[in-house]
Amino acid sequence: MESEYKKRLFYGLVFLGLILLPQFVGNYWSHILGDVGLYVMLGIGLNVVVGLAGLLDLGYVAFFGVGAYSYALLASPHFHIHIPFLVLVPLCILIAMILGALLGLPVLRMRGDYLAIVTLGFGEIIRIFLNNLDPVTNGPKGLLRIDPFRIFGFTIDEPVEWYYTILLGILLSTFFYKRIMDSKIGRAWMAMREDQTAAELMGIDLLRYKLLAFSIGASFGGLGGAIFAARQGSIFPENFSLIVSINVLCILILGGMGSIRGVILGAFVLVGLPELLREFEQFRMLLFGLLLIIVTIFKPTGFFRPEKGLKIVND
């Protein structure tokens, strides 16, 4: 119990730190922290699919994109629709979830890297459609003047305010994630990850649990997308390219698959590090690539091992 107490204290302090952080770093870094936060959210979502269920998904950006476009189309001058965000954000999540299930359907029989390539293709298809369906999405010109979140007459538009919004989103996501993970659903996913055939013979309906994994994973992407759209104020198809999927995957692997702390640290490295390297101008990405290799070699299992063992419910 001693260590449990210490752990709580530790997380409490970390949380306090996160709350106070923007007060010390100013707008620019708050904005970057917001970026990091968005990636944390995506990381948690993809972790459901890759880390827990073991389905290698290279097209995760599709859900992010669909979340963002759903928000932008229904809260911007483009169609002159302005749905309040409290209604719209859940809708975006729902749309992403449905899309996730739809993607799940054709890929159920595929394993490993076949799945990877199909999801990659799926992500690309979504992006190309966003870019080409000009009458709906305005094509490459993007959607502009997207409504920010407004609540009780208060508008969220400062980087610091967005930071807190995203922090709240992450907290919700984490809470949700933990609940699923420490349940029969989480165990079923992990079993599926370890050995699909054996999992099926333990009574796990692969079809159902794969679809569930895809749509739960997608829901985080949808949420992230909606926040992204509202925060940036304008979005373009090019914001949803393969690189985003790859980045999120890197965050997961680097952080240590299956661990929330890992996702957070991974996001700091992958999103924050390039910012820190800005002063190197053209050499920035060169160094980043090199650092990525070095970090992986020294921490091949990621920064954190996945959190192991089950917590006893209500104890």
């Binding site: 029969k184 370890e194 009574g203 796990i204």
Partner: protein, 260 residues
């Protein structure tokens, strides 16, 4: 027919040119340990794969408690009450011993998605009792104290025991065991044999056992079915089988003669 928990009728399965099962028929009665023996490649594991839904048979029928389960999906069959272990151990290697057993219990947990998310009263009770039962089962097969170890870190013999506990976790009516004593010392095999008898007796279930260790087979079986080339070549009590000339020739062998 009701005295049979499982009935195999004219089961056929081939892989390319190989006929692994060739019109196989037999029945497994309620309660008791039925053993399947036969030379390597006789089709024993293939039979298990067909029963448990890993493979779809090419012909024939499988009846479980009078119900046709041929071609059902693996998870549906577990739900109905058939559990199995694997010849080449297939544990969930990056999960703990306890988690492995809990996964085995999956088909018996009823709480749905929303109950899980909301941690409803029912879900918490269910998890609690699942946990309790998992500990019991682990204790039962002799893995007490190892609950939090990763499954792969266990030595081979203990992994086999874990497979057994995991299969039992689904509260099966029929347990399919594929060589549970492979790679064990005679003394260890003996322990497993005792355990099997106990399980059969205390849980009141039927066991279908594939085993090459004749000591174990002769010790535990109420009936033995002998396969060769996908066909049944003999069926009977241990004593009958021991002295069956065909079985000796194809499988048991005697001093100085071998089939190759």
């Amino acid at each position: 027919m009701t005295d049979r928990v499982l009935s195999i009728q004219g089961l056929t399965k081939h892989f390319g040119g190989i006929l692994a099962l060739n019109g196989l028929s037999f029945g497994v009665g309620r309660e008791g340990i039925y053993s399947i023996i036969g030379p390597n490649g006789a089709g024993k594991t293939t039979l298990f794969n067909c029963i448990s839904g890993v493979l779809r048979p090419d012909g024939g029928k499988i009846l479980f408690q009078g119900e046709d389960i041929t071609g059902l999906k693996g998870h549906e069959i577990v739900e109905l009450g058939i559990a199995r272990t694997f010849q080449n151990i297939r544990l969930f290697s990056n999960m703990t011993v306890l988690e492995n057993v809990l996964v085995g219990m999956h088909s018996r947990l009823r709480s749905n998605f929303w109950q899980t998310i909301s941690r409803s009263h029912y879900q918490r009770l269910e998890e609690k009792s699942a946990l309790k039962r998992a500990y019991q089962l682990l204790d039962y097969v002799g893995l007490k104290g190892l609950e939090d170890k990763l499954a792969t870190s266990l030595p081979y013999g203990l992994q086999r025991r874990l497979e057994l506990a995991r299969a039992l976790a689904s509260s099966p009516k029929l347990l399919l065991l594929d060589e549970p004593t492979a790679g064990m010392l005679p003394s260890e095999s003996k322990e497993i044999a005792e355990l099997l008898k106990r399980i059969q007796w205390e849980f009141g279930i039927s066991i279908l056992l594939i085993e090459h260790d004749m000591k174990v087979v002769m010790d535990v079986s109420s009936k033995i079915i002998v396969l060769d080339l996908g066909e049944k070549i003999a069926e009977g009590s241990p004593d009958e089988i021991r002295s069956d000339e065909r079985v000796i020739q194809a499988y048991l062998g005697g001093k100085g003669k071998h089939p190759l």
